[in-house]
Symmetry: C2
Subunit: 339 residues, 2 copies
């Protein structure tokens, strides 16, 4: 009978097949002198540096017996989505909105002659700016409501399956940040519950968050439209998406959304530099002693994008609160998962 | 050395000490002919009958390999609270509201001369009815908002620690239904996530749901007041409870609350007969093939209460949907946990 090398020996003791798991008898355990292999790096896409060290220290600190040990039910981490977990140039939900508007104009050409739809369909940014926030809301409402949740989900799925990023020529769900996927896994492996807390439509994100991030629908916090419970002819109930925003989840309302969904303060938050949308959430978690805040700075035009915030408020808040700032250029070995 | 009978033998094989775990050597395993003991009953406070059998069959069906197996992430159960998990005569949050109003009137005697507060303080039901829904809302708002979440939680805790039920002379948190606590445990032991979905204030319930039901804050769905993110003098953020209802979680809005918090349809729902508040939630889960609906009928004046619904809508819905109806009198061996 051929002897095989038990997998756990390879893992625990660093035995290689050559070192004693071949056909010859293995040495006595007492005589093994090879140093144990270091545990595998849980963040292999992160360059060594203060941010990576800070993350690993934080996880060790809150999970090991000692004064900083945090019970499992308080190990809660919240992540912004656009620009924090995946690329946001363009914002994916924005691309979906324009694609849906194109579809709608095909079915109803009269849309092409009506503002703000005409401006959006022509990708006329100047005209769209003139229509202001009301115009944008009108476009989002027209593309996100008036149908059942099931129909909307099918439209999002169809978009994600077919759309390609203009520069990277790849499906949007493949343009997540590999270092952040590793971080999500590391936290969950250490008993954390990971939530998304984003300004995006909660139902848009719920369609792909499980498959893309391992984050199930019940752990997605976002902006919501009102819904109405309806009864179909077969007697079954369904939810109709109403053309009115129920709650916005951005800036000062992110902590409100966290309270609504979780009811406890997270001990970890991650956001990014662009609009200042994550400052309130970062500060809200910062009030918890021993917590960790991560801010992603987009400074890598070559591999992804380089952009700053008009007023620099997020970096100022990071400095004041001693948040860890990721330089995508310097801290990340790779940006996107291999395709 | 005295031989002891290993506990797992007693459990697994039904060995009694007399049958072979004494001082004499046990018989060879191959010669053991005693029948294995039945597994312990997970619902010992339920009388045998169609409701108990239905519950056990449901759990077996969705957890055993076969056509009806439900993956872990879809094993979601929702429970109404008042009258479903604990007694509701009086509604506990109502008792809290009147107790708080008494406290407030002590600090501010002018309250005693203002309607609807005067009627509530005098427990003048006829006068209170005259003040209508607006009056009730005014009282609830006055006692539930205008303070920070932390202060409110402390007030709820203080009430629960000191208040006693007028008839049972016991703390309200001891007046839960033991059969339902067993059911919560059975479901969780079988991979279910158990949620509360109640018309009560979400923050009121979050104070005791973990300790009382094993249901953490993030699994409590309820009515919510608006909140505002504020910054204290020390720079820390806190949530102020605003005097405006953000969302009501009752009747047709219970499915909306479930969608908001969970984003999937539960496969189990439990509610009770009184106001018809659970019908929409029961039906919403009933649309899932193979799901289970439980309705508690309060018909036990001696051990708890006996009351019906004015229009009988919940029992009618139960009949139409083939929901299981619990007769507290006949289906439950005991009502409350031993004190």
């Amino acid at each position: 009978m051929r002897k095989t090398c038990p997998a756990f020996l390879v893992l625990v003791l660093g035995f290689s097949v050559a070192a004693g798991c071949g056909g010859s008898p293995p040495p006595e355990p007492a005589t093994v002198t090879a140093a144990p292999a270091p545990p595998p790096d849980p963040l292999p896409s992160w360059n060594d540096g203060s941010v990576k060290r800070g993350l690993l220290d934080f996880v060790a600190r809150v999970t090991q017996n000692g004064a900083d040990l945090v019970p499992l039910d308080e190990r809660i981490a919240v992540f912004d989505n656009d620009g924090t977990l995946w690329q946001e140039k363009p914002v994916v939900e924005g691309a979906f909105t324009l694609a849906r508007l194109d579809e709608m104009a095909k079915a109803n050409p009269a849309l092409r002659e009506k503002q703000p739809f005409e401006a959006a369909l022509d990708h006329d940014a100047a005209m769209l700016r003139e229509e202001g926030l009301d115009g944008v809301l009108q476009i989002i409402t027209a593309t996100h409501t008036g149908m059942t949740d099931d129909v909307y989900r099918a439209q999002v799925l169809q978009f994600l399956a077919t759309a390609r990023h203009p520069r990277f020529k790849a499906p949007y769900t493949s343009l997540t940040y590999l270092p952040m996927l590793e971080l999500l896994r590391l936290l969950r492996a250490n008993g954390f519950t990971t939530y998304i807390c984003s300004g995006g439509d909660v139902d848009f994100m719920r369609v792909f968050a499980t498959g893309t991030y391992g984050i199930p629908p019940e752990h997605v916090i976002g902006t919501r439209f009102e819904k109405k419970l309806m009864t179909a002819r077969d007697g079954k109930s369904f939810l109709l998406r109403e053309p009115k925003i129920e709650s916005i989840n951005d800036k000062e309302t992110k902590p409100i959304g966290i309270d609504r969904e979780i009811g406890k303060r997270p001990i970890f938050a991650a956001g990014n530099v662009r609009s200042g949308g994550d400052i309130a959430m970062l500060r809200y978690t910062h009030d918890v002693p021993g917590s960790f805040q991560l801010v992603i700075n987009h400074d890598d035009a070559e591999r992804e994008s380089a952009y700053a915030e008009k007023d620099g408020a997020t970096l100022a808040a990071a400095k004041a609160g001693n948040f860890s700032v990721v330089s995508m250029k310097n801290d990340w070995k790779v940006i996107f998962p291999p395709r």
